[in-house]
Subunit: 323 residues, 2 copies
């Protein structure tokens, strides 16, 4: 039997993970390479392509498959141009036409978008957003990424850079952001943001609280474990993060009135610790007309964290298969 | 010659204005009735329908025309249901199925949306947004209304209530809003908002400043005239309004990355007095990636204020003509 498969490729600062995905979201093969091993992006394209082409799975007797296309999720990915543009977390400088490279190498359609938008598509194609036409997908990782679906389509905007909710200014004159502005949402609601909040809380109790701490071990996971073991400052750090996130999400609703908002990424793994204060603040700040019958749900992503990026990238192709 | 025309009906708290519009945006006939004369919405539907049907313009020899459909713009209009829902500015209470009433009376398709969304469609069909797929349309009237276009389509959201930017909370714990929350954008950036700002400025200079003033004459137009004649407080009121509006619009860009943002309504008629501080603050608060080549434009609506609502309502039909 000839399988029809789409390649999903997730380019990260450290790892490039990829797999072959069928129309039901089953991953038939996956592998990874170190992104940093390839100073020239064309060499990564060649290496990934060879691995994909050499795939044959004797167990499933899929020695033969038809590759429908290549979907790529990447930081600072521009869907409209198929390029990665000035990504601060990658060693490749400037504008990289990665979709074009894959298209030339494999002679199939290649589509690229940013990692959060790809994950949003994956959630719609294979996850909890199946059948939804209007939803927002948020990734709470090092930064805060987002993908917004309206009328059943991803919003790219006129330049491909829609959905940068992490850079909504949430507190005027707030924390300095890497973008050059102050008070951006991702400075508060992300794995990085909660660490800053935790330090702020410790210092507000005792200005020298962090002097003796090995701050290098303090990350979102550490704060999560501290909160579980009864550390009040850690618990309050989650509360404050959720309070701001819920407030920001309530504002988001005034734009696209989504059916649901999905939270994914490291910080979302904290479960109730982050979801409870987020939902509380969301409901408190929501415009009353959105509180009627069709209650807007705040949900965890239903895709396995490890596979979400590959599925999302592949769904770029499965959204519009051209067999 | 048999003209094909769409009816555009603009329901306001005081007046209901309507006209017949051809596919080029030419209004072949217009008239109005007092909304308040019709305690029963069905009676208004009958009166408007009779005026529309009796239309014959001897000058243009259009004694005969084919009515393609009826488009309606109304406060609190729900496109998905064709209803006006709990509109605070209308005497009709509860949920009014106005599109159904027109459909039954005239036996043509009838579509209804809120007034700002209708105006956004009009701008795309007949005005400065022709050819744009991604833009935001803002009305600065008594409140702040908005219509968001992405991927060439209006965003309605899962419940029809997307595009309520006037109720984005812009200042936490700020001015009390009629919606029950505090700090909503329309409490600052609207004809009503600038009056509050003007009073705040006067009182900050002298707590008794408004004691002797006939505050009933102070509206946005008055402040505009004061600003033109050199009144500093009035000038600063426009500056402050523009500063907050530019900041809010810069945040809006992170959602849909529009090609342009259109400002319409009474306050937008103030021209440079409102556009200059808005653009200045917009550029200052904009995420750097949006400042590259494709500069996002802040523009006045190109439609005549008086006709915009009728054209917008008619464009609901012209968007998808079913002749």
């Amino acid at each position: 039997m000839m399988h029809q498969l789409a390649a999903g490729i997730d380019i990260g600062g450290t790892n490039t993970r990829f797999g072959l995905v069928d129309k039901n979201g089953k991953i038939h093969f996956k592998d990874s390479l170190l992104t940093t091993d390839f100073p020239d992006p064309k060499d990564l394209v060649n290496a990934v392509s060879e691995k994909i082409l050499s795939f044959s799975n004797p167990k499933q007797q899929t020695t033969n498959f038809k590759l429908l296309g290549v979907g790529i999720g990447a930081p600072n990915g521009n869907y409209l141009k198929g390029t990665i543009e000035f990504a601060p977390n990658l060693k490749w400088k400037g504008i990289i036409p990665l979709a074009k490279h894959f298209n030339e190498k494999l002679n199939v359609p290649a589509l690229l978008t940013n990692d959060a938008k790809a994950a949003a598509l994956g959630e719609m194609q294979f996850g909890g957003a199946k059948g939804m036409k209007d939803f927002i997908f948020i990734t709470l990782g090092t930064g805060l990424g987002s993908g917004i679906l309206a009328n059943g389509e991803l919003i790219y905007g006129h330049d491909g850079f829609a959905g940068e909710l992490g850079h909504t200014i949430i507190i005027q004159h707030g924390r300095q952001c890497g973008c050059g502005r102050k008070g951006c949402l991702e400075q508060y609601c992300s794995a990085t943001g909660i660490v800053k909040t935790y330090f702020d809380i410790l210092k507000s109790e005792n200005p020298h609280a962090t002097d003796e701490l090995d701050t290098s071990i303090i990350n979102a996971k550490y704060i999560y474990e501290q909160a579980l073991s009864g550390n009040e400052a850690a618990f309050y750090a989650f509360n404050y993060t959720g309070e701001l996130l819920g407030y920001a999400l309530a504002n988001s609703v005034t734009y696209t009135s989504p059916e649901a908002i999905f939270l994914s990424g490291g910080l979302a793994q904290a479960g109730e610790l982050i979801f409870n204060p987020t939902i509380l603040s969301f409901e408190k700040n929501l415009l009353p007309i959105y509180k009627h019958k069709n209650k807007i749900k705040i949900l965890p992503s239903s895709l396995q964290e490890d596979d979400a990026a590959i599925l999302g990238a592949a769904s770029l192709i499965w959204q519009n298969p051209k067999p």
